[in-house]
Symmetry: C2
Subunit: 249 residues, 2 copies
């Protein structure tokens, strides 16, 4: 039977999602915990391969197991074996051919920027800090150019292994929550570093380095060199992961 | 000249505010950083002696130094010597007899409770987690009995060294922010563990262990045994510190 897990984690202490020999990863910890619960070698297949330092409220993963344990109870059993910076939020039975990366999905990320004269210690692990003045309205105007279906080659690390750099952004919103600026981006998939490069480019607009319309030219240029910097991983959190044509998690 | 500092910190890694030999404390780190900047032994006098694991957005401290450095620049100089989980937000000149604990002040604390089926890793260091159902309206009703000037002996650790257990709570509010329940409490001073015991007592009301009116009886009983548990330190943050009759920090 195939089980779908929904996982939340604080990425601070990990070398990202993907299991790698010799380093601590989210996937590696989940594999270890599941293998311990079921007393057999278990390896999950993850949904989003988040980078080192990136957080998640709801990444997904599937694995196969033969067990008499009720599917919904697996989350509780696995949590007893996981470090407290990783938590399985739910577990459920899915069809045996259910593959998270091969199914149509909508993922939502937040990128958080903390604006103040000095960085705030309790937010240092979850935001990117800047003391510079930001034109939020200009960032909002720039974000409109990125919504929709585009070739996001300019907003993708050259190290991508993706077959195509075309993606659809359903929503790109810029909101203010007190001292924090929150970029909310929702789409059918994201290229390597895409959200962090979008955040860096919009922030350049916010700093007044170039105007909002320039973002359209960056998009059209299909060249990573045109876009802004890749902002640090700690500001990024995967906040939503929904499968199209599959009941809500 | 006497300098007033406003400090923010993540209390997770520290044995509280107060300097103690052999352990890492917020005050100890600030003393070390100031002594390094001014190349002489400097010891601050703090405002609120927060416990191990308690966070602050704006605790205060004063110290004396003879320097030609502009008072406002001291914050920047000290921050270069501090670990990143402690930050000085501002520095300013105050009268030579300015003593933070001897001046009338209004302190504000937040106690945060995270409610969900599973704890959220990115909030684990800043909230108290519970999976139990909470009657928020009942907590709000109970909080009203604690506002005003009362003898808070029931809400104080027996280990207090305070001369009197009478304090004034200006505001005690219960708010919901998504999955988090936030108790906001503002007053002229707080006894040892007072906010954490108030939070534990209100939460007992929220759990339905007793009704709101019972909080009045607990207050009148003047006995720590009557009140609820001392909730964990991590949920507590000092969010405001204002001196009456002194310009805003």
């Amino acid at each position: 039977m195939r089980i779908l897990l929904r996982a939340a984690y604080d990425g601070t202490a990990y070398h990202g999602w993907q299991a790698q020999p010799g380093v601590s990863t989210i996937e590696g910890e989940i594999n270890k915990a599941l293998s311990s619960v079921f007393e057999q070698d278990i390896q999950v297949t993850g949904g989003s391969r988040t980078d080192a330092g990136v957080h998640a409220l709801c990444n997904v993963a599937v694995f196969d197991v033969d067990t008499r344990m009720e599917a919904g109870k697996i989350a509780y059993a696995v949590n007893t074996k996981l470090p407290e910076d990783i938590r399985i939020r739910s577990s459920r039975l899915v069809p045996p051919d259910f593959h998270p990366r091969k199914r149509e999905s909508v993922k939502t990320y937040e990128y958080r920027i903390y604006r103040a004269d000095f960085p705030m210690p309790v937010r240092r692990l979850y935001t990117f800090y800047t003391h510079r003045k930001i034109d939020v309205a200009a960032m909002g105007a720039a974000s409109a150019y990125l919504e929709g279906t585009h070739d996001f080659k300019s907003f993708c690390s050259p190290h991508t292994q993706a077959e195509t750099t075309v993606r659809t952004i359903h929503l790109l919103d810029v909101r203010e929550e007190g001292p924090e600026l929150v970029l909310i981006v929702s789409g059918n998939g994201f290229l390597y570093n895409m959200v962090r490069i979008i955040a860096g480019t919009l922030l350049d607009v916010g700093y007044g380095k170039y105007n909002a319309e320039r973002v359209r030219d960056i998009l059209d240029g299909l060249d990573r060199e045109l876009a802004g910097p890749t902002l640090p991983a700690c500001g990024l959190t995967l906040t939503g992961y929904r499968f199209v044509d599959f009941p809500a998690l």
